[in-house]
């Protein structure tokens, strides 16, 4: 007897949950996306869109060990103009001292713009 009552209750609860889920999906695709993100990155900062982003934005820019490092990288580029691949590596800061090998190569703009052709 009691188990039957329990069963009925569970079914009701389940359908109420389903309805809430459906409402969430219909009402807020953002929240669905948020859940996806938190599932992939459980340690994502508690402060959404806060200081981490801002500090990363303020520090934007490729870091070199020192000016000699920078000038060597530039000189390398002048000699090897075909090297253009790894332009999108993330910044190397904080974990270890960067070396010229670590850093993405940059192509200096020695030629005129192709818009001006």
């Amino acid at each position: 007897m009691s188990s039957e009552v329990e069963k009925v209750k569970t079914i009701e609860d389940a359908s109420a949950e389903e309805q809430r889920e459906m409402e969430d999906k219909v009402v807020s695709p953002e929240k669905v996306e948020e859940a996806k993100l938190k599932a992939r990155y459980p340690h994502l900062g508690a402060k959404p869109g806060g200081s981490d982003f801002l500090r990363k934005r303020l520090q934007k820019g490729q870091k070199y060990f020192d000016s000699g490092d920078y000038n060597m990288a530039k000189a390398k580029m002048k000699n090897k103009q075909l090297l253009s691949a790894a332009a999108d590596k993330t910044e190397v800061t904080g974990d270890h001292i960067p070396t010229p090998q670590d850093l993405p190569q940059r192509k200096p703009s020695l030629v005129a713009s192709k818009l001006a052709v």
Binding site: P48, G49, F53, L54, K60, G61, K63, S84, L115
Partner: protein, 450 residues
């Protein structure tokens, strides 16, 4: 569909391809990526800046000069290297040469002036024409070599002779060392004497003639950087009130400041923010509310802001909410997780008004760009692509399919190319001519008439 009628002009109005500039090859060098596009006040000149620090200026051909169907084509007028990469020795950081913004000065004489800026340094460039040169000097010959004075037996008056047009660009002022953080905006004041420059935390006011000093007019840097909650994302001077400017923030707010009220405008005169439903708040809310561009209407009565998914028009007399909101690509709301992972959620789209303020334009992904007619409430999606690049070809409207059955000619959200972003667009100040930057290519579209 029935053509792209009705947006940006009258009912019979349609956009057509006019020109495309730039290389066709698939392998795009980073330096060639266009980072800013700007018409001058008359619309006769169109300037672009790129990641390689170069500026290219196009000039509109006078109509009636040549073939009747090449109505007002833009051709290269001048190109120069504006900024070079530099190295900040104190922080061991590279300073990119990428041109963040170009702003023209109103023309006051035969020469043209523009301001161009990278992350740290603003430069005033003078672009002038030379179409005459003097011939018949007494002391030097035609090649410039000095003549032997003993051979000179008579005096002659040098004569001005026409020469092939030469356009020269020279840096007249360099405004440096005033920004600790990265410059995102410059804006020329309506007094034509001053301009403002804004970085993430500060805004400075300059006099165009003075390079060794600038006034700091906004400073939102907190005493303790741990308390940093928002940054300045864009700033602009009011088009006709020289004491007024606005700046937008990463939290989706806009502050209007009056320079007559105080020297340091940390306290705003007006604060614009749209109320948000707290129950709908998510991890992404603040990121997508960050304003990437703010532009006053030509009339000065309205301003427009661009955030990740929408464009909003604000009446300067109403701070509580925008008067109009236009969805640019709402279908991306259910893709925010991947857009966060590939960093696209941080893309900074710009927006612009047409000359009469009745239409607005902004870019999107897949080389799509969107236009909204404020009067008819019609909107249209067009594409900047080599495939629709036959001269005077009418652009076909595009549609993104958001779910369910995809109709023919529609493109599904998952097929969009997020590497093809249109971040920079510009609208001619008087006519229906638009310039759209698609990575390394510049497209120019015009209306169908003629």
């Amino acid at each position: 569909g029935a053509g792209n009628a009705g947006v940006g002009g009258g009912n019979d109005f349609q956009w057509c391809f006019s020109q495309v500039k730039g290389a066709i090859d698939e392998d795009v060098a980073e330096a060639d990526i266009i980072s800013t596009v700007e018409f001058n006040y008359s619309g006769d000149l169109l300037a672009t800046g790129d990641k390689g620090g170069r500026v290219v200026i196009f000039q509109r051909e006078q109509e009636g000069n040549n073939r009747s169907h090449s109505r007002g084509e833009y051709n290269v007028y001048s190109t120069f290297q504006s900024h070079e990469p530099e190295f900040d020795y104190l922080k061991s950081l590279e300073i990119e040469e990428k041109i963040n913004k170009i702003r023209w000065l109103p023309q006051q004489n035969a020469a043209h002036f523009l301001l161009s800026t990278n992350d740290k340094t603003i430069k005033l460039w003078k672009i002038s024409e030379r179409d005459k040169r003097a011939e018949g000097y007494n002391l030097k010959d035609e090649n410039g070599r000095l003549r032997d004075p003993f051979r000179i037996t008579s005096l002659r008056v040098p004569v001005l002779k026409p020469m092939d047009l030469m356009v020269e660009a020279s840096p007249r002022r360099i405004f440096a060392n005033a920004h600790t953080y990265h410059i995102n905006s410059i804006s020329v004041n309506s007094d034509h004497e001053t301009y403002l420059s804004a970085d993430d935390l500060r805004i400075n006011l300059w006099h165009l003639e003075i390079t060794d000093r600038s006034f700091n007019i906004v400073d939102i840097k907190p005493a303790n950087m741990e308390e940093l909650t928002e940054v300045i994302t864009a700033a602009e001077c009011h088009p006709n009130q020289c004491n007024v400017f606005v700046y937008s923030s990463s939290k989706g707010t806009i502050r209007l400041c009056d320079m007559r009220a105080s020297a340091l405008c940390d306290r705003h005169s007006k604060f614009f923010e749209e109320p948000e439903d707290p129950s709908s708040r998510s991890f992404f809310s603040e990121i997508i509310s960050s304003i990437s561009d703010v532009k006053f209407s030509h009339s000065g009565r309205y301003m427009m802001t661009r955030d990740y998914l929408s464009v909003k028009v604000w009446d300067l007399n109403m701070e509580s909410r925008p008067v109009e909101t236009y969805q640019v690509h709402e279908y991306l709301r259910s893709k925010l997780c991947s857009l966060y992972e590939n960093d696209c959620i941080f893309d900074k789209f710009e927006c612009c008004w047409n000359g009469s303020d009745n239409a607005i334009m902004t870019g999107s992904y897949n080389n799509f760009f969107r236009m909204f007619d404020r009067n008819t409430r019609r909107d249209i999606t067009l594409e900047a692509s080599r495939e629709s690049s036959k001269p005077r070809a009418i652009l076909k409207p595009r549609k993104v399919c958001t779910g369910g059955k995809r109709k023919k000619d529609e493109i599904s959200v998952d097929s969009l190319d997020f590497n093809k972003k249109i971040l920079h667009t510009a609208w001619h100040p008087k006519e229906n001519i638009i310039a759209v930057a698609a990575t390394n290519n510049l497209y120019i579209f015009q209306d169908k008439i003629n």
